[in-house]
Amino acid sequence: MADYIKFVDVTKCDGCRACMVACKNWNDLPAEPEEFTGSIQSHNTLTANTWNVITYDEQVTANGNFEWLFRHKSCHHCGEAFCEKACPETAISHTKFGSVVVDADKCVGCGYCVNNCQFGVIQLATYVDKKGKEYRKAQKCDLCTGRLEEGLRPACVTSCHTNCLVYDDKDKVLAEAEKRLAKIKERFPNANIYNPSGIKGTTTVYLLADKPTVYGLPEDPKVALSQIVWKDYAQPLGKMMLGATTMAVIGAAISTAINKGKGEHEGGQDHE
């Protein structure tokens, strides 16, 4: 199977928000009306029940032009995902589609992923069980993995009428993205393709009209050393240490028992 990606060309977005409704509809997510945001943006940022948000930034660019920047903000599906590294329950994983998904059965709602996502994407949703008890699960865009499995495109992509959102063969899309980038440079001199190599690329690739920081995105995100230390060293090492200590103790107990049996208990430890 060829690699497919979701491509977001923000310069084609006209801010209609159909993707937001399509997402809520397909994933059956509840509405979350917020207080007045001061702009026409509906939600300040992503939440556990709002997996994509169109952001609207107004700015006067360096060359004096007014630009109204729209961006379909959603999970990037990082090649090396912070949330995945952070999860102590291994509830977060990559699918064969390159989407990063949360296994709700495994998720215990600890929120480690929330604090470790550099993009502020993943969030905790609070639910109430049959007994009226609250519990939490991490939630975010899963690139409609269920749809992908059925050979359908993500719900947001199907709703996009300007082809701002595309789901297609990675090589093809990225080649077209380069062409598009060259074309729009005149109007958007800072335009760039946002597919950070520091996190081994993403399955949702953006063509941004301005620098990533203008959209509140890290310029060059990398998997933090802390996360490598933790996931790749601390966690296995910690488990090993637990095992080693236990083994040592058991070994000592057995050894002591054997030696005691020989009647060689000296060294003044047992003064009974």
């Binding site: 809520k24 702009s39 109204w68």
Partner: protein
């Protein structure tokens, strides 16, 4: 639309004025984006920077209500620089017609004006005729009394400096737009104008659209792919409803409603039938319509049931504003509303509430309880104890719960099937009307009263159950032979002798024999994305109106890239990518071979055409305006009628210095009675807000997220201040004027609630259509305590 949605992709330049398709017609951007990708230029002209403006190559600020100045300046630019499509203008428009000697224009007033009645005698704007009663023409367009020269003279006053001094547009931007749009006058190029309510909802609304049409005729942009004057209809089926006689002065197919001065059918027909052009066939259409109304009860002896028809009072206006005026005067007792919410959607909304309280009964047929159906409540500002109106609410079902057709802006009649069963007791509008009609007919069955004959004579044969057979309705709309009951194939086959019926002649042909063509879903593109086998477009499945004009005087396409229809001399007929909107076999031998505008007497595009306020669009200021008219001493459209004085408060610039306009957002629809009840839409735009510039906010001490109060001569509302760079103060000739804008979707019912913008809007309408002037009025703002 003279063209259709898919056709937008063929434009070289698209000018959006008085519309915001990115927000209000988002799907149109599928096609607009295609055009842009191919290198087309998109121009957005709007009082504020919209999402359409962001998608555009050029954005121009335009003070609300100054479209004619803006377009007039462009017309002047094109004429001065000779950028018009010369052959097209000379051959296909009435530019060469010599105008009657009586015609004059002086200081904002045309000849034939009666100040007392505020009316013109339109007959005084005729053309000069020879002894054979033929219009005298000067194909060289040099005669100083020809339409072309008079037009040139008229618009010579619209020089760029004066124009931008009125519209507040940046001069360089304006010049850039003139240049870009005029480039479509080149042979083979196409420019399209997209407009919506921003164009129409003004006291000069009709003339605004006329000015677009003139511009398009001058540039040879009508009848060709990627061209046209394109009204972006605001509802999925508003085209369909006006096609079927929604407006008080129309019966189905845009034919006239008789008045009580039309004593005989023949006399009436004589009055409404033009002497030349396709509409000379009107009597055939009218009689066939009467046959569909009254069936066998319509006979030659009783003038085909003409006298069963209700008549308008001669000279009386039954438009929306006037109805509410009449309601205010207690001139009628009852009101039935299908999906109407005037307390949110009508002008001077608080006044509407008072008028509704004068009714004896009111029926609201809607999906949700609307602000209108609960107008008697305290939240609406009423005193429930004193309201005596009996309010009945009938639950209607949504479009997904019923079967039927909608006609889109491109005149495509698209059939839709029921997706889910109606919820609860809700019923389709058609069922409600059907049940009502059957019960009424039953009640009046034995009435001896002659005035009840209208009802008794009416045929109502759509089945005997409460659920009508919609297929029978469709067949009747198309029409059939009265004797054989065979479906009519085309409106060309309709007769005026009572042997044929047709419920709506422009749709005749959509249901020939046994196939409802509106149900077709063949998406094969046979050429130029006309999709001739997808649904059915009226008239006669023609996709681009006046497509004869897509070819030159010899019948050859102006451009190889935009082939509409071309004359095939071998086969002796018009052929191409569209169905000819022209007599299919009319060849070069016929003198009318070069008359593409078949619906107009003479067949020429009307640069000069008398509507209520004159033959040429002239700029007048809105009812409420911040400056005096720069073009004449006449401030307001001289043909505008004033209604009920008590409901017609006017604000003065000294008290209300800020210009305001209203608009819609993508997420809410019309009065919001549906969308404000859908959680996923309500969360996207949950609050009512007022958009104001940073400069105005600073001046008024208004901070980010503050609540503000907007007041007009009609009332005041409170909402959030949305401070944005997208609104800028207008630098006009004499002063700087602030401009604000707000969505008009909100009311107190539903999930997303907020103040109703129409509390502020004036109760005055256009001189031709009486559409209210929602888009330009004066107000003041202050911070809420």
């Amino acid at each position: 639309m003279t063209n259709h949605w898919n056709d937008l992709q063929y434009a070289d330049v698209l000018m959006v004025i008085g519309a915001n398709p990115a927000e209000n017609h988002p799907i149109s951007f599928r096609w607009i984006s295609k055009a842009i990708e191919k290198g087309a230029k998109l121009i957005s002209v709007d009082p504020r920077y919209t999402r359409t403006s962001q998608m555009a190559n050029t954005y121009a600020q335009l003070r609300s209500g100054t479209d004619i100045a803006f377009i007039g300046g462009m017309i002047n630019y094109i004429l001065e620089n000779e950028l018009y499509h010369k052959e097209y203008v000379s051959a296909y428009t009435n530019a060469s017609y010599i105008v009657d000697d009586q015609y004059s224009f002086k200081d904002g007033i045309f000849n034939g004006y009666d100040e007392k009645t505020r009316k013109y005698d339109k007959k005084q704007w005729g053309f000069k005729k020879d002894k054979e009663d033929k219009i005298i023409k000067d194909p060289t367009l040099k005669d100083p009394r020809c339409v072309f020269q008079l037009m040139k003279k008229h618009y010579s006053r619209y020089d760029i400096d004066t124009v931008v001094g009125v519209t507040g547009t940046d001069k360089e931007t304006y010049k850039e737009i003139c240049k870009a749009y005029a480039s479509t006058g080149e042979v083979g190029k196409a420019g399209t104008i997209l407009y919506a309510m921003g164009g129409t909802q003004h006291t000069v609304g009709t003339q605004n659209i006329r000015s677009y049409a003139i511009l398009q005729l001058l540039l040879g942009n009508i009848g060709i792919a990627g061209g046209g004057v394109n009204a972006l209809r605001g509802e999925s089926n508003v085209q369909g409803s006006t096609d079927f006689g929604l407006l008080y002065h129309n019966v189905p197919g845009y034919m006239e409603v008789p008045t009580d001065a039309d004593v005989t059918y023949q006399g009436f027909l004589d009055r409404i039938t033009p002497k030349s052009g396709y509409l000379t066939n009107k009597p055939k259409f009218y009689t066939s319509m009467l046959k569909s109304f009254y069936g066998d009860n319509a006979t030659k002896q009783n003038e085909f049931g003409y006298h069963f028809m209700p008549k308008l009072g001669a000279g009386k206006d039954y438009s929306y504003i006037r109805l509410f005026d009449a309601m205010y005067r207690k001139e009628f007792e009852g009101l039935m509303m299908f999906g109407a919410n005037p307390v949110v959607g009508g002008p001077h909304a608080s006044q509407s509430i008072k008028s509704l309280a004068n009714l004896k009964w009111m029926v609201s047929i809607d999906l949700f309880e609307t602000e209108t159906s609960s107008f008697w409540k305290k939240e609406a500002g009423s005193d429930p104890a004193s309201v005596q109106t009996e309010v009945i609410f009938l639950p209607a079902c949504s479009s997904y719960e019923k079967e039927g057709s909608v006609t889109n802006s491109g005149r495509w009649m698209q059939y839709r099937w029921q997706a889910i069963k109606p919820k609860g007791e809700s019923k389709a509008d058609l069922e409600i009307v059907h049940m009502l009609a059957r019960r009424l007919k039953e009640l009046y069955k034995n009435s001896p009263n002659p005035s009840d004959m209208s009802l008794k004579a009416l045929t109502w044969n759509y089945g005997e159950s409460d659920h009508p057979d919609i297929d029978l309705v469709c067949r009747e709309i198309n029409g059939y032979d009265m004797k054989t009951k065979q479906q009519i194939k085309s409106f060309g086959d309709l007769k005026d002798d009572g042997s044929t019926s047709s419920g709506c002649w422009i749709y005749c042909g959509f249901y020939p024999e046994n196939e409802n063509l509106a149900k077709r879903r063949d998406n094969t593109n046979e050429g130029m994305s006309n999709f001739l086998n997808w649904s059915y477009a009226w008239p006669a499945n023609r996709r681009i109106l006046y497509n004869r004009a897509s070819s030159d005087l010899n019948g050859k396409a102006w451009s190889k890239d935009r082939v509409g229809i071309v004359w095939n001399s071998v086969e002796g007929k018009w052929k191409g990518n569209d169905i000819p909107d022209f007599a299919a076999t009319k060849g070069p031998d016929d003198p009318t071979f070069i008359d593409p505008f078949i619906m107009i007497a003479g067949g020429k595009g009307a640069l000069f055409a008398g509507i209520n306020e004159g033959p040429f669009p002239e700029h007048y200021e809105p009812y409420e305006n911040p400056i005096s008219n720069a073009f004449s001493s006449v401030q307001l459209n001289p043909a505008v009628q004033f209604g009920e004085k008590a409901t017609n408060a006017k604000g003065d610039v000294s008290k209300y210095p800020i210009v305001a306009t209203t608009y819609r957002v993508s997420e809410h629809w019309q009065s919001g009675s549906m969308t404000r009840n859908v959680p996923w839409l309500a969360e996207l735009v949950p609050h009512m807000y007022i958009e104001i510039s940073e400069e105005l906010a600073k001046e008024k001490g208004i901070a980010y997220k503050d609540r503000i109060i907007v007041s007009s001569a009609r009332g005041e509302i409170e909402a959030y201040a949305l401070i944005t760079k997208r609104f800028k103060p207008y630098k006009l000739k004499d002063k700087t004027v602030h401009h604000i804008g707000m969505p008009w979707h909100f009311g107190y019912n539903g999930i997303a609630t907020g103040a109703t913008a129409n509390v502020l809007t004036p109760n005055i309408g256009d001189a031709n259509t009486t559409i209210p002037e929602f888009k330009a009025f004066l107000c003041d703002i202050r911070r809420a305590k």
